[in-house]
């Protein structure tokens, strides 16, 4: 990006590449793959960036490619994406990358400082912190993914139904969301966990119960604007049932803003999950969840500070990465939400 001429050069090659291909591409069948003759990379680029897409698939892929190009121009968002991909890779490869078994205790070597044998030192039972961080990421990030998978469809459906049906349904469903929004998230989650007993599953359910209302609100707001559009009226006139209109025509339109919201929300879900773990209500020892690791290492913060700080850095990095990614996605997918 240091070369000021490069964006111009990009545009020049792109338009130059379109010229010879355009006559070929139009007569070809719908959704045809990019013609190979113009050199694979530039040909695909031209196919994606054409002003006259020959098929719906081409238009859709072109739009996605342009969103990606816009996204790629944002270095902070790319950094966020990079950190997330790196973290996913690390936790998927945990068995390969871990230098020790995360559960093996080595009581003669408690609370050791970082060294070549234990890269990030050892905890109060002599377990390797680096290996526990890798395996702990599976639990912490796994909890976050589980919450999102539970919450996003529910919130989306509730919001779309409330917005589309209107009337009594709308008032009823929105009243329920209001009640859930009336508690601070962590405190309601605490009360739910207290009722269900501590553990990973109840923490996931508790966070999910507190996390869905904002999605429902968002989906409802989107639906309210969509339901009066002409294409929805057209779909209704062709005899589509309300369920079909909601599922096929309204719901997909809510997805971009939902994706943005979910990504931005991921960091707050990570913080809530880690907070529950820290209070001793999430994953139970000896499971290496990041918040739980900090809770047990807290007693040694004044002398062996790294034992508590390392998982803290991991939580911070994951949460920051999702915030950066979410900001970038919002600029690309949903500029009006700024």
């Amino acid at each position: 990006m240091s070369d000021p001429a490069s964006p111009m050069a990009d545009v020049a090659t792109a338009t130059a590449a379109i010229e010879p291909i355009a006559p070929d591409a139009v007569p070809e069948a719908a959704g045809a793959p990019p013609p190979p003759q113009a050199g694979a990379a530039s040909g695909r680029r031209a196919w994606l960036l054409t002003d006259a897409p020959a098929s719906r698939a081409q238009a859709a892929w072109g739009r996605r490619y342009q969103a990606w190009l816009a996204f790629r121009r944002n270095p902070l968002a790319m950094a966020g994406l990079g950190v997330i991909l790196l973290m996913l890779l690390l936790i998927l490869l945990a068995p390969v990358l871990a230098t020790h078994d995360p559960g093996i205790q080595e009581l003669g070597n408690r609370l050791a400082a970082p060294s070549s044998a234990h890269w990030l030192g050892t905890d109060e039972l002599g377990r390797d912190v680096w290996s526990r961080l890798l395996y702990g990421g599976r639990i912490t990030l796994g909890m976050v993914v589980a919450v999102v998978l539970l919450v996003a469809p529910v919130g989306l459906l509730v919001g779309c139904v409330a917005g589309y049906a209107g009337g009594l349904w709308d008032r009823l469903l929105m009243r329920v969301t209001d009640v859930f929004l009336a508690f601070p998230r962590l405190i309601l989650a605490l009360a739910f966990v207290a009722a269900m007993g501590p553990g990973v599953e109840s923490a996931v359910i508790a966070i999910a119960l507190t996390a869905w209302p904002p999605y429902a609100r968002l989906a409802r707001a989107e639906t309210l604007t969509i339901r009066h559009t002409d294409y929805v009226a057209a779909a209704r006139m062709t005899g589509a049932s309300p369920a079909r209109v909601v599922l096929r025509h309204v719901l997909p339109m809510c997805l971009p803003s939902l994706v943005v919201r979910v990504t931005l929300d991921m960091s707050s879900i990570i913080l809530t999950a880690a907070g529950l773990g820290f209070l001793g209500l999430g994953a139970q020892p000896p499971l290496p969840e990041w918040g739980t690791m900090i809770a047990t290492a807290r007693r040694f913060i004044l002398e062996q500070w790294w034992v508590a700080v390392m998982p803290g850095v991991a939580i911070f990095a994951a949460s920051l990465a999702f915030n950066l990614l979410g900001d970038g996605l919002r600029d690309v997918l949903d500029p009006k939400q700024r």
Binding site: R175, V176, D178, V179, F180, A182, F183, P184, R185, L186, I187, L188, L190, A191, F192, V193, A194, A195, M196, G197, S267, L271, A274, G275, F278, L279, G280, L281, G291, I294, R298, I301, L302, W305, A308, V309, G312, I315, F316, S319, L320, N323, L324, R338
Partner: protein, 337 residues
């Protein structure tokens, strides 16, 4: 004017429904709990007839709706049940623990408001400069840093390494129980008693937890201030004011900032409510005897009356603060009239 009253009435009418919902949620949580409320009262070695009598007294033999009715009327008469842990009525416990949280959260929101608005305005007036970038990174960190990690690191640096600030707790040992409790706010009590060493000790103990707690709100307020200010600074009246030759600080503070004040008040009220959440974790680390600590300690002791009572009170405060934010917005913004 009439429409405005109507909107106010609608907001006011929605409050009892929301509160009813809150009670319903805590009641529901109380019923799914695997702890037998009878055993919690009489202990697990009580003879069978005592257990049966307690069950009858607690109304647990009645149908759910009757139990709910009883729960609701109890709450309306200010009866949140008795805490198993402290054996005091939950309501009294909450009244005793609340001032500490109030003191902490209020100082935190003052710090967050002053610094957040300052940083936000600074960033907006220097959009794109390094100052703006620094504020941006600072805000992102505020959104991403777990408050308990920040609290631990702060203890490590300012208490253990530098020794600038006292450790956890609300008072030094020398001042323990020296000051008569009047308001429950340690600083105010010490000032009222004219005990200035105790006052400064209380302030020193407040700085760290309040600073940690304020960080998240600070980031949010700074971010919102920046966004509001940018919108104002782009508008035409700012150009007019500059053309008239007004000084830049005057334009920023007297013209642009005035117009952001209304939405900012809403933001500050909303973050004040959000502080209750951070208080749970902050109080746990700084051994701060507030509502958050009461909640977590009761939780770990499976003291359900206390947990649900505290949850309900926090929910109530949250609703009231949200309502106040809404009302202030309506009252102050001429466009909503």
């Amino acid at each position: 004017m009439k429409a405005r009253l109507g909107a106010l009435a609608a907001t006011a009418a929605s409050i009892p429904i929301t509160l009813f919902g809150l009670v319903l949620v805590t009641f529901f949580i109380g019923r799914v709990v695997p702890i037998d409320p009878v055993l919690a009262v009489v202990g697990d070695r009580a003879p069978a007839d005592v257990v049966a009598r307690a069950r009858l007294e607690l109304g647990l033999d009645q149908p759910l709706y009757a139990q709910f009715w009883r729960y609701l009327t109890d709450i309306l008469t200010g009866n949140l049940g008795r805490s198993v842990m402290t054996s005091n009525p939950v309501w009294e416990d909450i009244a005793r623990y609340f001032p500490a949280t109030f003191e902490l959260a209020t100082l935190a929101i003052i710090v967050a408001g002053v610094l957040g608005i300052g940083l936000g305005v600074l960033a907006a007036t220097r959009q794109g400069s390094w100052v703006d970038q620094v504020v941006r990174v600072f805000c992102l960190a505020g959104h991403s840093l777990p408050v308990f990690v920040l609290a631990l690191v702060s203890l490590l640096v300012f208490y253990a390494w530098l020794g600038w600030l006292p450790g956890p707790g609300r008072q030094g040992i020398v001042f323990q129980d020296m000051v008569e409790t009047r308001t429950g706010l340690m600083t105010l009590d010490a000032a009222l008693a004219n005990d200035w060493p105790a006052f400064w000790d209380a302030v020193a103990h407040l700085i760290q937890p309040a600073g940690v707690l304020s960080f998240f709100s600070l980031a949010y307020i700074a971010r919102m201030t920046r966004a509001f200010m940018l919108a104002e600074l782009r508008s035409e009246y700012v150009t007019t004011a500059r053309a008239k030759g007004l000084s830049w600080p005057r334009i920023v503070w007297r013209h642009a900032f005035r117009n952001t004040a209304v939405p900012l008040v809403t933001v500050i009220f909303l973050t004040y409510a959000g502080l209750l959440e951070g208080a749970v974790l902050t109080e746990t680390i700084f051994a701060w005897p507030g509502l958050g600590q009461y909640l977590t300690v009761s939780l770990l002791n499976a003291d359900m009356n206390a947990v649900l009572g505290a949850t309900l009170v926090v929910g109530l405060i949250y609703v009231v603060l949200n309502l106040l934010a809404d009302l202030l917005y309506r009252l102050m913004d001429p466009r909503t009239r």
